[in-house]
Symmetry: D2
């Protein structure tokens, strides 16, 4: 599967490496608005840096991997679909739910696989919870709790273009809830600026709790903080009628030191590159499976729309200090 | 400290045993509306079963321990105060917040210690979290999450007179939030009947999540379920600016069995008698400290009013599906 | 079951409290070579301090609990047996194996229960391992590893009269091996003085490893240290053909603190009074079961002889730097 | 660093992959006595399969990686040294200690790096224990315990040519003890055949415990079993004067399932390919560091001789049922 990479930034580099881990796929070209970045990454992988149009027009390229900035996603998806490429796109589709919805309709007839990069679905821990739940190991689902704290806040410059915590950070957790429990009926959002006053000054929050309620009475909570001094805190609990499933943190090593000061274990691995390194590789193989073996994509454009709709509902709930029905922002939900 | 016990039921028996664990206090009399119950418990402890009035009038009795049914608490507190007794009362003060408020005003001048039985404050795990937090070990508080699941739902007959989940079960967790974070500004309640349809038919819920927000932006969540098939689940997480404090479950034993089936540890201890056995004894000593050494009571009647106000706000929030300001139910809060 | 206590020292006080935890038994008298100690403890429990002969002659006393110094055990057991008392005796029978063997023969016809205080058999964790092993949960036993470290060494004055590490400290672990695996065929002892040079100067060791081999090829190791700065370290691992059973440490509380410094849990409970508090009470009830309900004693005088024989073999192995057959010290073993 | 690989079997394939993980090294040729194996692996990596002499004679090849069968190691090391190559060799040097000693003397003047593949030194968990110990975090070393169980025994055909458990399996653990505590003074070996009677019939054991004693009184134990039904059990404990360091198992995932059956965690990762995957890569980089940056090799040929000497002493101890001085098998030790 000959693949071209759009975007040679941090996440682009991660994907360039993941492409190599599946022997069925091959990186053949890189493009980036910053020519030097594209050239450098292309050189490292012994491939060409090419112009986007050139890539899209090349019949020998099977798939495009979109890891460029968020504002380019929708356009590239549309062009990629028009060019008949299989498409893998980093989350989110777009910061605008309406644009995402439109796009989703426009490419509905696209015959090739189109997959959203919700990498956490492929984390072996969350995937194992999902599988155990699907297998009925804890009975019927009742409550879900997602804990997701970054180790440290990003620079305010990033916050300003991020689309806000719910769309930028919690979107992963909204998708995790969809992955486990499907689409909720209502969203109630709470949030504060406790970590960095500059984030508040930029109109955003850094500490947030969202409650999702489902038509059948199930309830989910998501907790986000832009700061966890002890590392990337990525956990999940799912209470079912027959038991509890938890995914705990992955830790730096298994060493335990016992002294008069207490019993000290290692911290969680520092951030998403460490925690989700394996997930990126497994995710990529799932996309290759879809392209090569015609398996269904495990994270569709509809999943992308759904997560965005929950973020939109959270924004509305937070602004108007009330519970919002998903149907208010996503007709028919 | 000569103590008389009101109530010879399950919790009364627990307290009768706790009184013995502090050498400074002595059980001298038992009373109960069921004469046989009073007689039996009195016999076991080699003391007298007496009439309530008789106990209140006895100048040789220093303290009364109220562990009778909830509807008798307020009256007994008032009579005990009038009789000049030191008073220890099981939670809640009353199911009615207004009655609790009135009572609180009426006994404001009571010169002797009056303590509410919020036993979880004395659990060594929660107490250690509180102490570490107070000592600044994780910096400034940001988020609090209380998980509190009973192993199995009570009979519906109990549910019907319980005052509802928020007042009966979550009241402990409201107090835990007060213990850690003080009084919140708003309460947002979510709830469902997922465990036992008869509980729903009786007008109550068995699965609930409440979000508390504080004036300074801190946020707390409480999760309750009437059923956790693996045992009494009593945990807490407190995220601060410098780290995370957790109180995990106490488990039945420390045995770990590794086989092809996985690595199996013991379950959490089954229910509150097992989990809070030590807490009841420590709690009692704290009351004896207040009486004998004039230390402040660590859980005052105001704490009882506060927990009840949060429960009342949760009921209102749940009924009206909106966030409720504490001040709506507790003027001045 | 009317019980008289011989010995009002630290362990005597523990037993005095345990007697109270079983409603079927009652402490009625205390004796000690130090009259004041006997008087004080008797007063605390509202019983009489009496002379030993007086107690032995009293037909209303059913049982004696021997918690006096080691050198008095054998004589008291013999006198108690002659007086027809049920006997509970703290370990060891005597520092001399030959004396223990003689005594064991002499009281062979004693018709009443005679139990050795190997308290660790009653620790809920070790007992659960034993039960799981007996139930075949990990198949056939292969290797056993007992870790047993005291938090801090005793004063050298104690070391001098202790009989040496193998007889004084490891005797508990020898019994634990018997409890799990029965009697070994050979003993190989290793030891050093690493903790306190004064212990070495007194002719003893403070760090030791013993390997036990069994006739059928099973192998056990015991590790002892007189010092574990992080608390009383009492663990066990049993590898079977179908899996591994572990008993881990009990810890002070369940609090976990995560900061930049790592993830810190509580230390093991400090020493035997904390760790084995429950075990002492369960042990006592097992003795009462034997006396009142004629159940077999779960730790017989033969178990006392066996543990002593292993200690004797360890001493011989250490002195002669060779593997010792149990049969060399215990004919017929 | 242009590298040629000797051996295209299981461990050869692992190393071929590791070579790729360091950008400073490159696989350029593969050789194997089985031509097809060499050709297949060479094809996968896009390199040539060549004859050994050809490789050794090629001045453009900087380093050889010896992962062929044990009986070829010594000869290849010698030839590689003669050809002026940097040499990385899988453990052991040879099954014969005397041959290893001779070789060691013969290549003493070899000017280029020569490193033994003791991969466990590079496991992040054991390396972290070593670093913490070296940094004095638990004070002076006292006791070391290495637990090392394979998930399942190899076929008896392998056992027959393996050199026996001490040389084949425990050699890693001997090196781990050297890594932590240096060279011991005596070795006492115990062993049984409990897992597979065919292993016993082949003259080997499958269950073993070795005690190492050090000149200064420190003591180490190694426990080996050819079977742990729950997975590859690779742990270590180091007791120091100021605390305990443990390296625990790495587990398959962080999922915990709590039901009425207990609290179930994932098993240890299955075998050495899973557990030491990262270690192989880190190990290789350490060798490249030695070659490219002239850093000292972290596992020298002397370390290979030492581990072999301990295995030899264990064999002697086991055969003669006595403690063996290292100096008996390794003059001057």
């Amino acid at each position: 599967m000959r693949t071209a990479l759009f975007g040679a930034g941090r996440i682009g580099r991660v994907h360039a490496a993941s492409i190599k881990t599946d022997p069925r796929s091959e990186l053949v070209a890189v493009t980036d608005v910053v020519n030097e970045a594209a050239a450098a990454l292309a050189r490292e992988h012994g491939v060409e840096a090419r112009a986007p149009e050139d890539i899209l027009a090349d019949k020998n390229i099977d798939a495009i991997l979109i890891a460029s900035s968020t504002n380019t996603h929708a356009e590239l998806i549309e062009k990629g679909a028009a060019a008949g490429k299989a498409i893998f796109c980093e989350k989110p589709i777009d910061l605008s739910l309406s644009r995402a919805l439109e796009l989703s309709k426009r490419i509905a007839g696209h015959a090739r696989p189109m997959m959203m990069g919700f990498n956490r679905r492929f984390d072996p821990n969350f995937a194992a919870v999902n599988a155990a739940f699907a297998a009925g190991e804890v009975g019927k689902g009742e409550m879900l709790a997602v804990t997701s704290y970054d180790p440290a806040p990003p620079p305010v410059s990033y916050i300003k273009v991020s689309g806000g915590l719910y769309r930028d950070m919690m979107i992963h957790d909204f998708d995790m809830c969809s992955f486990m429990f499907g689409m909720p009926k209502t969203v109630t959002a709470h949030g504060s600026c406790l970590v960095d006053p500059e984030i508040g000054a930029a109109g955003d929050i850094d500490t947030a709790i969202v409650v999702l309620s489902y038509a059948d009475g199930r309830i989910a909570t998501i907790r986000n903080s832009r700061r966890a001094p002890y590392g990337y805190d990525q956990r999940l609990e799912l209470l079912g009628s027959a038991g509890l499933l938890e995914a705990r943190n992955e830790i730096e090593n298994t060493v335990v030191k016992s002294t008069t000061a207490g019993v000290v274990s290692a911290k969680p691995v520092y951030f998403f590159l460490e925690r989700y390194m394996r997930a990126y590789s497994i995710e990529w193989s799932a996309f290759v499976d879809a392209v090569v073996e015609a398996k269904p994509v495990p994270a569709s454009i509809q999943d992308g729309v759904n997560a965005l709709a929950m973020a939109e509902a959270a924004n509305l709930s937070f602004a108007e200090k009330r519970t919002v029905e998903l149907a208010e922002v996503l007709p028919g939900a």
